[in-house]
Protein backbone atom coordinates (compact mmCIF):
# COMPACT_ATOMS: atom_id res chain seq x y z
CA UNK A 1 0.00 0.00 0.00
CA UNK A 2 1.51 3.32 -1.06
CA UNK A 3 0.16 6.24 0.86
CA UNK A 4 0.42 9.94 0.51
CA UNK A 5 1.62 11.84 3.55
CA UNK A 6 -1.37 13.41 5.25
CA UNK A 7 -0.85 16.71 7.07
CA UNK A 8 -1.84 16.97 10.73
CA UNK A 9 -4.62 19.58 11.04
CA UNK A 10 -4.54 22.30 13.72
CA UNK A 11 -6.97 20.26 15.77
CA UNK A 12 -6.81 17.94 18.75
CA UNK A 13 -5.62 14.35 18.51
CA UNK A 14 -4.93 11.62 21.03
CA UNK A 15 -2.26 8.99 21.60
CA UNK A 16 -3.45 5.76 19.96
CA UNK A 17 -4.07 2.87 22.38
CA UNK A 18 -4.94 -0.70 21.36
CA UNK A 19 -7.72 -0.67 24.00
CA UNK A 20 -9.55 1.99 22.00
CA UNK A 21 -9.17 0.49 18.56
CA UNK A 22 -12.59 -1.12 18.34
CA UNK A 23 -14.44 1.94 19.65
CA UNK A 24 -12.65 4.18 17.15
CA UNK A 25 -13.39 1.94 14.17
CA UNK A 26 -17.00 1.39 15.21
CA UNK A 27 -17.91 4.98 16.11
CA UNK A 28 -15.69 6.89 13.68
CA UNK A 29 -15.20 9.83 16.06
CA UNK A 30 -14.71 13.33 14.66
CA UNK A 31 -11.13 13.73 15.85
CA UNK A 32 -8.28 15.42 14.00
CA UNK A 33 -5.54 12.80 14.19
CA UNK A 34 -3.78 10.09 16.20
CA UNK A 35 -0.20 9.84 17.45
CA UNK A 36 1.70 6.58 17.81
CA UNK A 37 4.79 5.68 19.80
CA UNK A 38 7.17 4.49 17.12
CA UNK A 39 8.68 1.69 19.21
CA UNK A 40 5.30 -0.06 19.56
CA UNK A 41 5.20 -0.60 15.79
CA UNK A 42 8.70 -1.91 15.21
CA UNK A 43 7.71 -5.58 15.15
CA UNK A 44 7.70 -7.18 11.69
CA UNK A 45 3.94 -7.71 11.47
CA UNK A 46 0.90 -8.82 13.41
CA UNK A 47 -2.10 -7.08 14.99
CA UNK A 48 -0.34 -3.77 15.81
CA UNK A 49 0.28 -3.10 12.12
CA UNK A 50 -3.17 -4.37 11.09
CA UNK A 51 -4.82 -2.00 13.51
CA UNK A 52 -2.61 0.93 12.61
CA UNK A 53 -3.29 0.42 8.89
CA UNK A 54 -7.03 0.62 9.61
CA UNK A 55 -6.60 3.84 11.57
CA UNK A 56 -4.25 5.30 8.95
CA UNK A 57 -6.89 4.77 6.25
CA UNK A 58 -9.27 6.98 8.22
CA UNK A 59 -7.12 9.56 10.05
CA UNK A 60 -3.80 11.39 9.78
CA UNK A 61 -1.05 9.90 11.94
CA UNK A 62 1.86 11.48 13.80
CA UNK A 63 4.96 9.48 14.69
CA UNK A 64 6.49 10.06 18.12
CA UNK A 65 9.73 8.28 19.03
CA UNK A 66 10.52 7.51 22.66
CA UNK A 67 13.74 5.50 22.40
CA UNK A 68 16.25 7.24 20.11
CA UNK A 69 18.31 8.74 22.96
CA UNK A 70 19.10 11.94 21.08
CA UNK A 71 20.55 13.55 24.24
CA UNK A 72 23.17 10.83 24.83
CA UNK A 73 26.87 11.55 24.44
CA UNK A 74 27.18 8.21 22.65
CA UNK A 75 26.34 7.94 18.94
CA UNK A 76 22.77 7.33 17.81
CA UNK A 77 21.87 3.65 17.39
CA UNK A 78 21.95 3.31 13.60
CA UNK A 79 19.71 0.23 13.56
CA UNK A 80 17.10 2.07 15.56
CA UNK A 81 17.32 5.08 13.29
CA UNK A 82 16.79 2.80 10.29
CA UNK A 83 13.68 1.38 11.94
CA UNK A 84 12.35 4.91 12.40
CA UNK A 85 13.07 5.67 8.76
CA UNK A 86 11.19 2.54 7.69
CA UNK A 87 8.18 3.42 9.83
CA UNK A 88 8.16 6.89 8.31
CA UNK A 89 8.18 5.35 4.85
CA UNK A 90 5.51 2.78 5.70
CA UNK A 91 2.95 5.11 7.28
CA UNK A 92 3.94 8.55 5.93
CA UNK A 93 3.06 10.38 9.18
CA UNK A 94 2.15 14.06 9.07
CA UNK A 95 4.54 14.92 11.91
CA UNK A 96 7.60 13.22 13.38
CA UNK A 97 8.99 14.02 16.82
CA UNK A 98 11.42 12.86 19.51
CA UNK A 99 12.56 14.00 22.96
CA UNK A 100 15.31 16.15 24.37
CA UNK A 101 16.46 13.28 26.58
CA UNK A 102 18.68 10.22 26.68
CA UNK A 103 17.72 6.65 27.49
CA UNK A 104 20.62 4.43 26.42
CA UNK A 105 24.09 4.20 27.91
CA UNK A 106 26.76 1.54 27.30
CA UNK A 107 24.14 -0.39 25.30
CA UNK A 108 21.74 -0.56 28.26
CA UNK A 109 18.30 0.85 27.50
CA UNK A 110 16.84 2.54 30.59
CA UNK A 111 13.32 3.00 29.19
CA UNK A 112 12.98 6.49 30.64
CA UNK A 113 13.50 10.03 29.37
CA UNK A 114 16.61 11.02 31.28
CA UNK A 115 17.63 14.67 31.68
CA UNK A 116 20.41 16.48 29.84
CA UNK A 117 22.61 19.21 31.35
CA UNK A 118 22.15 22.45 29.44
CA UNK A 119 25.70 23.12 28.26
CA UNK A 120 27.48 23.99 25.04
CA UNK A 121 28.74 20.38 24.98
CA UNK A 122 25.13 19.11 25.02
CA UNK A 123 23.94 21.59 22.38
CA UNK A 124 26.69 20.31 20.08
CA UNK A 125 25.91 16.63 20.64
CA UNK A 126 22.13 17.01 20.39
CA UNK A 127 22.47 19.11 17.22
CA UNK A 128 24.78 16.55 15.60
CA UNK A 129 22.30 13.80 16.41
CA UNK A 130 19.33 15.75 15.06
CA UNK A 131 21.25 16.50 11.86
CA UNK A 132 21.84 12.78 11.50
CA UNK A 133 18.19 11.92 12.19
CA UNK A 134 16.81 14.48 9.75
CA UNK A 135 19.28 13.46 7.07
CA UNK A 136 18.55 9.74 7.47
CA UNK A 137 14.79 9.96 7.78
CA UNK A 138 14.69 12.67 5.15
CA UNK A 139 12.39 15.06 6.93
CA UNK A 140 12.22 17.72 9.61
CA UNK A 141 11.66 16.52 13.15
CA UNK A 142 10.19 18.23 16.19
CA UNK A 143 12.13 18.18 19.48
CA UNK A 144 10.11 18.00 22.71
CA UNK A 145 10.87 19.94 25.89
CA UNK A 146 11.25 17.50 28.82
CA UNK A 147 9.68 17.06 32.23
CA UNK A 148 12.56 17.42 34.66
CA UNK A 149 12.86 16.53 38.32
CA UNK A 150 16.34 17.91 39.00
CA UNK A 151 19.00 20.22 37.59
CA UNK A 152 22.71 19.75 36.93
CA UNK A 153 25.24 22.15 38.42
CA UNK A 154 26.97 21.91 35.00
CA UNK A 155 24.12 23.74 33.23
CA UNK A 156 25.16 27.10 31.85
CA UNK A 157 22.03 28.08 29.93
CA UNK A 158 18.26 27.96 30.27
CA UNK A 159 16.09 25.35 28.60
CA UNK A 160 14.55 27.75 26.10
CA UNK A 161 17.95 29.06 25.00
CA UNK A 162 19.08 25.46 24.64
CA UNK A 163 16.09 24.41 22.51
CA UNK A 164 16.23 27.58 20.41
CA UNK A 165 19.93 27.14 19.68
CA UNK A 166 19.47 23.48 18.68
CA UNK A 167 16.59 24.47 16.39
CA UNK A 168 18.70 27.26 14.86
CA UNK A 169 21.60 24.91 14.14
CA UNK A 170 19.56 21.99 12.80
CA UNK A 171 16.42 23.54 11.36
CA UNK A 172 14.30 21.22 13.51
CA UNK A 173 10.99 22.40 14.94
CA UNK A 174 9.82 22.15 18.52
CA UNK A 175 7.12 20.15 20.24
CA UNK A 176 5.85 22.14 23.20
CA UNK A 177 4.57 19.88 25.98
CA UNK A 178 2.55 22.25 28.17
CA UNK A 179 2.20 19.68 30.95
CA UNK A 180 5.98 19.27 30.95
CA UNK A 181 6.29 23.05 31.27
CA UNK A 182 4.11 23.00 34.38
CA UNK A 183 5.83 19.91 35.83
CA UNK A 184 9.32 21.34 35.30
CA UNK A 185 8.42 24.86 36.46
CA UNK A 186 6.87 23.49 39.65
CA UNK A 187 9.79 21.14 40.25
CA UNK A 188 12.38 23.87 39.59
CA UNK A 189 10.28 26.55 41.33
CA UNK A 190 10.21 28.79 38.28
CA UNK A 191 7.25 30.42 36.55
CA UNK A 192 5.41 28.51 33.80
CA UNK A 193 3.77 31.63 32.36
CA UNK A 194 7.14 33.39 31.96
CA UNK A 195 8.47 30.25 30.30
CA UNK A 196 5.56 30.14 27.84
CA UNK A 197 5.86 33.87 27.14
CA UNK A 198 9.54 33.40 26.28
CA UNK A 199 9.04 30.25 24.19
CA UNK A 200 9.70 30.63 20.43
CA UNK A 201 6.14 29.83 19.31
CA UNK A 202 7.07 30.29 15.65
CA UNK A 203 9.07 27.04 15.93
CA UNK A 204 6.25 25.03 17.55
CA UNK A 205 4.73 22.41 15.25
CA UNK A 206 2.82 20.47 17.88
CA UNK A 207 1.62 20.72 21.47
CA UNK A 208 1.26 17.94 24.04
CA UNK A 209 -1.10 17.84 27.03
CA UNK A 210 -1.29 15.16 29.73
CA UNK A 211 -1.97 14.51 33.41
CA UNK A 212 0.70 14.46 36.12
CA UNK A 213 0.99 12.82 39.54
CA UNK A 214 1.67 15.16 42.48
CA UNK A 215 4.31 14.04 44.99
CA UNK A 216 6.77 15.90 47.20
CA UNK A 217 10.55 16.13 47.23
CA UNK A 218 11.00 15.03 50.84
CA UNK A 219 11.80 18.60 51.88
CA UNK A 220 8.28 19.95 51.76
CA UNK A 221 8.38 21.16 48.16
CA UNK A 222 6.02 19.75 45.51
CA UNK A 223 7.51 17.30 43.04
CA UNK A 224 5.27 16.61 40.04
CA UNK A 225 5.70 13.40 38.08
CA UNK A 226 4.92 13.28 34.35
CA UNK A 227 2.71 10.22 34.75
CA UNK A 228 0.23 10.40 31.82
CA UNK A 229 -2.20 8.52 34.04
CA UNK A 230 -5.12 10.90 34.62
CA UNK A 231 -7.02 13.87 33.19
CA UNK A 232 -5.23 17.10 32.34
CA UNK A 233 -4.95 19.36 35.39
CA UNK A 234 -7.16 22.50 35.39
CA UNK A 235 -4.09 24.70 35.78
CA UNK A 236 -2.51 23.06 32.73
CA UNK A 237 -5.71 23.76 30.75
CA UNK A 238 -5.21 27.41 31.71
CA UNK A 239 -1.59 27.30 30.52
CA UNK A 240 -2.79 25.71 27.31
CA UNK A 241 -5.27 28.51 26.63
CA UNK A 242 -2.49 31.00 27.37
CA UNK A 243 -0.25 29.17 24.89
CA UNK A 244 -2.86 29.05 22.11
CA UNK A 245 -3.65 32.75 22.64
CA UNK A 246 0.02 33.44 21.85
CA UNK A 247 0.70 30.76 19.24
CA UNK A 248 -2.65 30.51 17.46
CA UNK A 249 -4.10 27.09 16.56
CA UNK A 250 -1.44 24.36 16.69
CA UNK A 251 -2.03 20.56 16.42
CA UNK A 252 -2.57 19.44 20.02
CA UNK A 253 -2.20 15.93 21.40
CA UNK A 254 -3.77 14.54 24.57
CA UNK A 255 -1.52 11.80 25.99
CA UNK A 256 -2.87 9.17 28.37
CA UNK A 257 -0.55 6.15 28.61
CA UNK A 258 -1.13 4.60 32.04
CA UNK A 259 -4.44 3.67 33.70
CA UNK A 260 -5.91 4.26 30.23
CA UNK A 261 -9.61 5.23 30.50
CA UNK A 262 -12.55 4.20 28.35
CA UNK A 263 -12.54 5.81 24.92
CA UNK A 264 -15.28 8.43 25.65
CA UNK A 265 -13.25 9.86 28.55
CA UNK A 266 -10.16 10.39 26.40
CA UNK A 267 -12.24 11.63 23.47
CA UNK A 268 -13.86 14.24 25.76
CA UNK A 269 -10.41 15.58 26.69
CA UNK A 270 -9.60 15.92 23.00
CA UNK A 271 -12.92 17.69 22.35
CA UNK A 272 -12.11 20.16 25.08
CA UNK A 273 -8.77 20.96 23.43
CA UNK A 274 -10.57 21.17 20.08
CA UNK A 275 -12.91 23.83 21.52
CA UNK A 276 -9.92 25.95 22.57
CA UNK A 277 -8.43 25.56 19.09
CA UNK A 278 -11.74 26.42 17.39
CA UNK A 279 -12.04 29.65 19.40
CA UNK A 280 -8.48 30.58 18.43
CA UNK A 281 -9.31 29.85 14.79
CA UNK A 282 -12.39 32.10 14.95
CA UNK A 283 -10.43 34.86 16.63
CA UNK A 284 -7.80 34.64 13.91
CA UNK A 285 -10.46 34.83 11.19
CA UNK A 286 -12.06 37.88 12.85
CA UNK A 287 -8.66 39.57 12.92
CA UNK A 288 -8.18 38.86 9.23
CA UNK A 289 -11.62 40.30 8.44
CA UNK A 290 -10.83 43.36 10.54
CA UNK A 291 -7.53 43.86 8.71
CA UNK A 292 -9.17 43.37 5.32
CA UNK A 293 -11.98 45.78 6.19
Amino acid sequence: MTMQPQAIPSRAGVGLKPEHHQAIIETGPDIGWFEIHAENYMGAGGPPHRRLAEIRERYPISLHGVGLSIGAARPIDRDHLQRLKQLNERYRPGLFSEHLAWSTHDSIFFNDLLPVPYTEDSVARVSEHIDQVQETVGRRMLLENPSTYLTFVESTMGEIDFLTEVARRTGCGLLLDVNNVHVSATNQQTDAISYLDAFPMELVGEIHLAGYAPEDDGKGAPLLIDAHDRPIDPYVWGLYEHTIARAGPVPTLVEWDNDVPEWPVLFAEAQRADAVLARAQEARERELVAVAG
Binding site: P47, A73, F110, N111, L114, Q188
Partner: protein, 262 residues
Protein backbone atom coordinates in the same frame (compact mmCIF):
# COMPACT_ATOMS: atom_id res chain seq x y z
CA UNK B 1 33.46 20.66 34.72
CA UNK B 2 32.33 17.18 33.75
CA UNK B 3 31.67 16.42 30.10
CA UNK B 4 28.28 15.17 28.93
CA UNK B 5 29.71 11.66 28.67
CA UNK B 6 30.99 11.80 32.27
CA UNK B 7 27.69 13.12 33.61
CA UNK B 8 25.83 10.33 31.85
CA UNK B 9 28.26 7.59 32.91
CA UNK B 10 27.82 8.53 36.59
CA UNK B 11 24.06 8.95 36.20
CA UNK B 12 23.71 5.56 34.50
CA UNK B 13 25.84 3.76 37.08
CA UNK B 14 23.78 5.19 39.92
CA UNK B 15 20.53 4.29 38.13
CA UNK B 16 21.57 0.65 37.93
CA UNK B 17 22.68 0.27 41.53
CA UNK B 18 19.91 0.93 44.08
CA UNK B 19 22.51 1.19 46.84
CA UNK B 20 24.62 3.80 45.02
CA UNK B 21 24.74 7.38 46.26
CA UNK B 22 23.12 10.10 44.16
CA UNK B 23 25.71 11.35 41.66
CA UNK B 24 27.41 14.65 42.38
CA UNK B 25 26.14 17.76 40.67
CA UNK B 26 22.46 16.87 40.85
CA UNK B 27 20.52 19.51 42.72
CA UNK B 28 17.04 20.78 43.46
CA UNK B 29 15.86 24.39 43.29
CA UNK B 30 17.57 25.03 46.66
CA UNK B 31 20.90 24.16 44.95
CA UNK B 32 21.31 21.32 47.45
CA UNK B 33 21.89 17.64 46.54
CA UNK B 34 18.57 16.02 45.66
CA UNK B 35 18.48 12.26 46.28
CA UNK B 36 14.68 12.13 46.32
CA UNK B 37 14.59 13.79 42.91
CA UNK B 38 17.15 11.37 41.49
CA UNK B 39 15.07 8.52 42.93
CA UNK B 40 12.22 9.47 40.57
CA UNK B 41 14.33 8.36 37.60
CA UNK B 42 15.56 5.23 39.35
CA UNK B 43 11.97 4.33 40.15
CA UNK B 44 10.71 5.11 36.63
CA UNK B 45 13.29 2.79 35.12
CA UNK B 46 12.49 -0.21 37.29
CA UNK B 47 8.71 0.30 37.32
CA UNK B 48 8.57 0.71 33.54
CA UNK B 49 10.57 -2.42 32.83
CA UNK B 50 8.72 -4.54 35.40
CA UNK B 51 5.47 -3.36 33.81
CA UNK B 52 6.73 -4.45 30.39
CA UNK B 53 7.46 -7.93 31.80
CA UNK B 54 4.04 -8.10 33.47
CA UNK B 55 2.46 -7.38 30.11
CA UNK B 56 4.39 -10.20 28.43
CA UNK B 57 4.14 -12.86 31.15
CA UNK B 58 0.59 -12.68 32.59
CA UNK B 59 0.30 -16.43 33.30
CA UNK B 60 3.63 -16.50 35.14
CA UNK B 61 2.42 -13.58 37.24
CA UNK B 62 -0.91 -15.26 37.96
CA UNK B 63 0.84 -18.47 39.05
CA UNK B 64 3.32 -16.86 41.45
CA UNK B 65 1.22 -13.90 42.56
CA UNK B 66 1.81 -10.18 42.11
CA UNK B 67 4.37 -9.67 44.90
CA UNK B 68 6.50 -12.65 43.96
CA UNK B 69 6.41 -11.65 40.30
CA UNK B 70 7.39 -8.11 41.19
CA UNK B 71 10.43 -9.33 43.15
CA UNK B 72 11.45 -11.81 40.46
CA UNK B 73 11.02 -9.25 37.66
CA UNK B 74 13.05 -6.67 39.58
CA UNK B 75 15.84 -9.19 40.04
CA UNK B 76 15.74 -9.92 36.30
CA UNK B 77 15.78 -6.23 35.35
CA UNK B 78 18.88 -5.71 37.52
CA UNK B 79 20.63 -8.82 36.21
CA UNK B 80 19.64 -8.46 32.55
CA UNK B 81 18.52 -4.94 31.64
CA UNK B 82 17.30 -4.39 28.07
CA UNK B 83 19.97 -3.95 25.42
CA UNK B 84 17.63 -2.44 22.84
CA UNK B 85 14.99 0.29 22.79
CA UNK B 86 12.58 -2.30 21.38
CA UNK B 87 10.77 -3.38 24.52
CA UNK B 88 8.72 -5.86 22.49
CA UNK B 89 11.96 -7.89 22.46
CA UNK B 90 12.57 -7.57 26.19
CA UNK B 91 12.26 -10.79 28.18
CA UNK B 92 13.80 -13.18 25.62
CA UNK B 93 15.89 -14.66 28.45
CA UNK B 94 13.29 -14.39 31.23
CA UNK B 95 12.38 -18.11 31.12
CA UNK B 96 16.04 -19.07 31.49
CA UNK B 97 16.37 -16.61 34.34
CA UNK B 98 13.35 -18.16 36.09
CA UNK B 99 14.93 -21.61 35.69
CA UNK B 100 17.89 -20.37 37.70
CA UNK B 101 15.88 -18.27 40.17
CA UNK B 102 16.20 -20.11 43.46
CA UNK B 103 12.93 -18.94 45.10
CA UNK B 104 10.96 -20.34 42.12
CA UNK B 105 12.65 -23.75 42.22
CA UNK B 106 9.56 -25.38 43.74
CA UNK B 107 7.66 -24.66 40.51
CA UNK B 108 9.68 -26.69 37.98
CA UNK B 109 7.14 -26.08 35.19
CA UNK B 110 7.32 -22.28 35.54
CA UNK B 111 10.15 -21.74 33.00
CA UNK B 112 8.17 -23.68 30.38
CA UNK B 113 5.08 -21.55 30.99
CA UNK B 114 7.34 -18.51 30.51
CA UNK B 115 8.67 -20.01 27.25
CA UNK B 116 5.08 -20.39 26.00
CA UNK B 117 4.38 -16.75 26.86
CA UNK B 118 7.58 -15.61 25.17
CA UNK B 119 6.70 -17.65 22.07
CA UNK B 120 3.21 -16.13 22.11
CA UNK B 121 4.72 -12.62 22.15
CA UNK B 122 7.08 -13.45 19.29
CA UNK B 123 4.28 -14.97 17.23
CA UNK B 124 2.17 -11.86 17.83
CA UNK B 125 4.81 -9.52 16.39
CA UNK B 126 6.21 -11.88 13.71
CA UNK B 127 6.06 -11.14 9.99
CA UNK B 128 2.72 -11.78 8.28
CA UNK B 129 2.30 -14.54 5.71
CA UNK B 130 -0.64 -16.22 4.01
CA UNK B 131 -0.86 -19.85 5.16
CA UNK B 132 -1.43 -22.68 2.70
CA UNK B 133 -5.00 -23.97 2.56
CA UNK B 134 -6.38 -27.48 3.01
CA UNK B 135 -5.69 -28.32 -0.65
CA UNK B 136 -1.98 -27.57 -0.28
CA UNK B 137 -0.96 -31.14 -1.06
CA UNK B 138 -3.80 -32.07 -3.38
CA UNK B 139 -2.70 -33.74 -6.57
CA UNK B 140 0.83 -34.44 -5.43
CA UNK B 141 1.63 -38.09 -5.90
CA UNK B 142 2.90 -40.02 -2.90
CA UNK B 143 6.14 -40.61 -4.77
CA UNK B 144 6.87 -36.89 -4.78
CA UNK B 145 5.45 -35.98 -1.37
CA UNK B 146 8.51 -37.15 0.55
CA UNK B 147 10.80 -34.87 -1.44
CA UNK B 148 8.93 -31.69 -0.54
CA UNK B 149 10.40 -29.10 1.76
CA UNK B 150 7.99 -26.86 3.61
CA UNK B 151 8.27 -23.20 4.45
CA UNK B 152 6.85 -22.91 7.96
CA UNK B 153 4.89 -19.84 8.93
CA UNK B 154 7.22 -17.04 10.20
CA UNK B 155 5.20 -16.83 13.42
CA UNK B 156 5.56 -20.54 14.24
CA UNK B 157 7.16 -21.41 17.58
CA UNK B 158 7.50 -24.74 19.34
CA UNK B 159 7.82 -25.17 23.10
CA UNK B 160 8.54 -28.66 24.43
CA UNK B 161 7.92 -29.40 28.08
CA UNK B 162 8.39 -32.36 30.40
CA UNK B 163 5.39 -30.98 32.28
CA UNK B 164 1.79 -30.25 31.31
CA UNK B 165 2.94 -26.65 30.82
CA UNK B 166 0.39 -25.87 28.13
CA UNK B 167 -2.51 -26.97 30.33
CA UNK B 168 -1.12 -24.86 33.16
CA UNK B 169 -0.72 -21.87 30.84
CA UNK B 170 -4.30 -22.24 29.56
CA UNK B 171 -5.63 -22.33 33.12
CA UNK B 172 -3.77 -19.15 33.97
CA UNK B 173 -4.84 -17.09 31.00
CA UNK B 174 -8.49 -18.00 31.52
CA UNK B 175 -8.81 -20.39 28.55
CA UNK B 176 -9.90 -23.28 30.75
CA UNK B 177 -11.01 -23.47 34.39
CA UNK B 178 -8.27 -23.79 36.98
CA UNK B 179 -8.15 -27.32 38.39
CA UNK B 180 -5.78 -29.92 39.75
CA UNK B 181 -2.84 -30.78 37.47
CA UNK B 182 -0.83 -33.98 37.71
CA UNK B 183 2.77 -32.87 37.29
CA UNK B 184 3.82 -36.47 36.79
CA UNK B 185 1.54 -36.83 33.79
CA UNK B 186 3.20 -36.83 30.40
CA UNK B 187 4.77 -33.66 29.10
CA UNK B 188 3.16 -31.39 26.54
CA UNK B 189 4.58 -29.94 23.34
CA UNK B 190 3.00 -26.64 22.36
CA UNK B 191 2.73 -25.27 18.83
CA UNK B 192 2.26 -21.51 18.74
CA UNK B 193 1.35 -19.84 15.45
CA UNK B 194 -0.42 -16.71 14.23
CA UNK B 195 -1.74 -17.47 10.73
CA UNK B 196 -3.82 -14.25 10.62
CA UNK B 197 -4.80 -11.87 13.42
CA UNK B 198 -5.06 -14.35 16.32
CA UNK B 199 -2.23 -16.21 18.02
CA UNK B 200 -3.24 -19.86 18.48
CA UNK B 201 -1.65 -22.32 20.91
CA UNK B 202 -2.23 -26.08 20.63
CA UNK B 203 -0.66 -29.37 21.61
CA UNK B 204 1.04 -31.39 18.92
CA UNK B 205 0.45 -35.15 18.69
CA UNK B 206 3.19 -37.66 19.59
CA UNK B 207 6.32 -37.17 17.49
CA UNK B 208 4.90 -33.92 16.12
CA UNK B 209 7.52 -31.76 17.80
CA UNK B 210 10.37 -33.77 16.28
CA UNK B 211 8.64 -33.53 12.93
CA UNK B 212 8.28 -29.75 13.12
CA UNK B 213 11.83 -29.34 14.41
CA UNK B 214 13.15 -31.28 11.40
CA UNK B 215 11.01 -29.25 9.00
CA UNK B 216 12.32 -26.07 10.59
CA UNK B 217 15.86 -27.21 9.81
CA UNK B 218 14.84 -27.37 6.16
CA UNK B 219 14.77 -31.17 5.90
CA UNK B 220 12.35 -32.75 3.43
CA UNK B 221 8.98 -34.12 4.43
CA UNK B 222 10.30 -37.67 4.09
CA UNK B 223 13.38 -37.00 6.21
CA UNK B 224 11.32 -35.17 8.81
CA UNK B 225 8.79 -37.99 9.04
CA UNK B 226 11.63 -40.48 9.49
CA UNK B 227 13.09 -38.37 12.30
CA UNK B 228 9.70 -38.21 14.00
CA UNK B 229 9.16 -41.95 13.64
CA UNK B 230 12.58 -42.63 15.12
CA UNK B 231 11.65 -40.52 18.15
CA UNK B 232 8.06 -41.76 18.48
CA UNK B 233 6.78 -44.99 17.00
CA UNK B 234 3.16 -43.80 17.10
CA UNK B 235 3.95 -40.85 14.79
CA UNK B 236 1.21 -40.43 12.16
CA UNK B 237 2.40 -38.40 9.17
CA UNK B 238 -1.02 -37.78 7.63
CA UNK B 239 -2.55 -36.61 10.91
CA UNK B 240 0.43 -34.37 11.72
CA UNK B 241 0.51 -32.83 8.27
CA UNK B 242 -3.25 -32.19 8.36
CA UNK B 243 -2.85 -30.71 11.84
CA UNK B 244 -0.14 -28.29 10.67
CA UNK B 245 -2.15 -27.22 7.63
CA UNK B 246 -5.24 -26.80 9.83
CA UNK B 247 -3.24 -24.63 12.23
CA UNK B 248 -2.14 -22.39 9.38
CA UNK B 249 1.43 -23.31 10.22
CA UNK B 250 2.65 -23.85 6.66
CA UNK B 251 3.34 -20.84 4.50
CA UNK B 252 4.75 -22.50 1.41
CA UNK B 253 6.16 -25.63 -0.14
CA UNK B 254 8.96 -26.38 -2.55
CA UNK B 255 8.65 -29.41 -4.83
CA UNK B 256 12.21 -29.17 -6.08
CA UNK B 257 14.71 -26.33 -6.46
CA UNK B 258 13.02 -25.10 -9.67
CA UNK B 259 9.52 -24.79 -8.34
CA UNK B 260 8.33 -22.59 -5.49
CA UNK B 261 4.70 -22.35 -4.54
CA UNK B 262 3.53 -19.67 -2.13
Amino acid sequence: MRSLAEVQAEFAAALRDPAAATPDGIVGPDHEPAPRRFAVYRNNVIVGLVKALKGSFPAVERIVGEDFFQAMARAYVRAEPPRSPLLIDYGVTFADFIAGFEPAASLPYLPDVAWIERAWREAYHAADAEPLGADAFAGIGEDRLGGLTLRLHPSLRLVRSRYPALTIWKMNVGDIPVGPVDLNASGEDALIVRPAAEVTVRTVPPGGADFVAALEEGRTLGESAAAALAAERAFDLAANLAGLVGAGAIAGRVMDPEESVQ
